[in-house]
Amino acid sequence: MGLLVWLESLPLSVWVHESPSVWAQPTVLTLHTMGMGVLVGASWVLDLRLLGINRNVPLSAFRWVFPAVTVGLIVNLITGILLFVGRATTWGLAIPFFIKMAFVIASAATLMPLRSYVLHSDPQQTEVGGNARLLAIASILTWAGAITAGRLLAYLVP
């Protein structure tokens, strides 16, 4: 609790949460949403391919997904930390927030094996293994869970 109080008292935290400037909370929140669109959108496009949409397209064509996802992850990590420290004593003790984080970590965890699977696939390879399909299903569901939990935070943790 002491740590959370300290985090929330940092000048940056106070600025994000208290400043009336449009560049504080509003812009950080909007960048978080844009990062979400890139991160989840690019992940889902890859997941759809792994589940059989466009099955004739080689997996190597989807290498671009990972730089895009990395950009989304970095943006959302930074903006997410800013949003967290702004209300650290609230988020740090809220169960719904931990549920969201669990979904985010689970989703990010599916990205690692999918990344090495796609990057190490043969340039012409089109067939997808059973494990990759399961990971794709898990990725779709955990991202949907993360978005749902994230959106409902506004209602569950006022």
């Binding site: 949403t33 844009m34 890139v38 690019a42 889902w44 496009v45 949409i53 994230g150 409902l152």
Partner: protein, 325 residues
């Protein structure tokens, strides 16, 4: 930023309110003539017009609500007559979007197969007929609000009636959206899921135009477009639930105004991505897979991605810029 007042939007409604009716009749005429002449290219033109009109019906409806807010307290204006017009317009909008959606599917298939599926075009045409009939009624009832000389018994009856919001569909939707504890949060969640899907698909398609994954044919990213449409459809439905639920939150809002403007640009871009020819060289062309876009197409791809980000920005900034929620 321009000053966005209800008066300006009400004025814009006078300009836009003829577009759905007249435009849908033009699309219908093109489709019927195309059927009679068995003219395949003309069918596609009819479908393209239909899609464009379906997109423009959105601001036509929304500016009408602005006009309602402006007019309701003026003497000689019947609130019941406006509400009746608004309700029929909402039904007309719904049919119009259905017609536009089926028309889009037919266009997408036509781009892949070389010609539109007759059944799909027939369904789009039938839906357009329904949309025209409902829209014509809406237009007629809209005219009654300010033009007593054209009032019929039905609208005169509505004009005389006392206002009972319970009887109108828009009011019922609004009641549920505002009073239900789950309707608004659930719609928001679907809206965010839909935006991610649409954005992911358009990222893939536009990155291909910009030169990423050049080794795969454009046809393969084109196959993703229906998934983008799925996300967009979810967001059109949930977005309309928000708008009908709490129209006053949006009408005076500068970010919302820009959101709709960029949505129109994004809609035009989506139509272009669906039908444009350049990337669709014959299959035996060795360059087919390695197709490289022109500078104009690359510019368009950047404009498209920017437009979707602007749509997202306008939506997310709604509570913070201009009229706070």
């Amino acid at each position: 930023m321009p000053s966005i007042t209800s008066f300006n939007l009400a004025h814009l409604h006078l300009l836009l309110n003829h577009v759905p009716t007249v435009g849908a009749i033009v699309a219908l005429g093109l489709l019927i003539v195309a059927f009679i002449r068995r003219d395949e290219p003309l069918k596609l033109v009819g479908l393209e017009v239909l899609f464009a009109i379906a997109v423009l019906t959105l601001p036509a409806y929304m500016t009408g609500v602005a006009a309602f807010q402006k007019l309701r307290d003026q003497p000689g204006i019947s609130e019941a007559a406006i509400r009746l017009h608004q309700d029929v317009a909402l039904f007309g909008f719904t049919w119009m979007e259905f017609a536009g959606f089926v028309g889009w599917v037919a266009l997408w298939q036509a781009r892949r197969r070389g010609r539109a599926a007759t059944g799909m075009v027939a369904v789009a045409t039938a839906l357009t007929i329904v949309a025209v009939v409902v829209m014509a009624q809406a237009a007629n009832l809209g005219g009654d609000i300010r033009h007593p000389e054209i009032r019929t018994d039905r609208s005169a009856g509505a004009a005389a009636a006392t206002v009972d919001p319970e009887q109108f569909a828009a009011s019922k939707i609004s009641y549920i959206m505002v009073n239900s504890s789950w309707a608004w949060p659930a719609s928001e969640t679907v809206h965010f899921l839909g935006l991610s899907l649409t954005f992911g698909v358009l990222l893939a398609v536009n990155l291909r135009i910009l030169g990423v994954m050049k080794q795969i044919p454009f046809a393969d990213v084109h196959r993703l477009l229906p998934w983008g449409m799925l996300g967009f459809g979810a967001n059109l439905i949930t977005g309309m639930l928000f708008f009908v639920g709490q129209p006053k939150q949006y009408l005076d809002s500068a970010p919302f105004y820009w959101k709709v403007v960029f949505l129109m640009i994004a809609g035009a871009n989506f139509l272009y991505l669906t039908v444009f020819r350049k990337a669709w060289a014959p299959r035996d062309n060795a360059l087919y897979g390695e197709w490289d876009a022109s500078l104009a197409d690359k510019t368009m791809a950047i404009v498209s991605l920017f437009s979707w980000l602007a749509v997202l920005y306008g939506g997310r900034m709604l509570p913070f810029i201009g009229h706070a929620f």
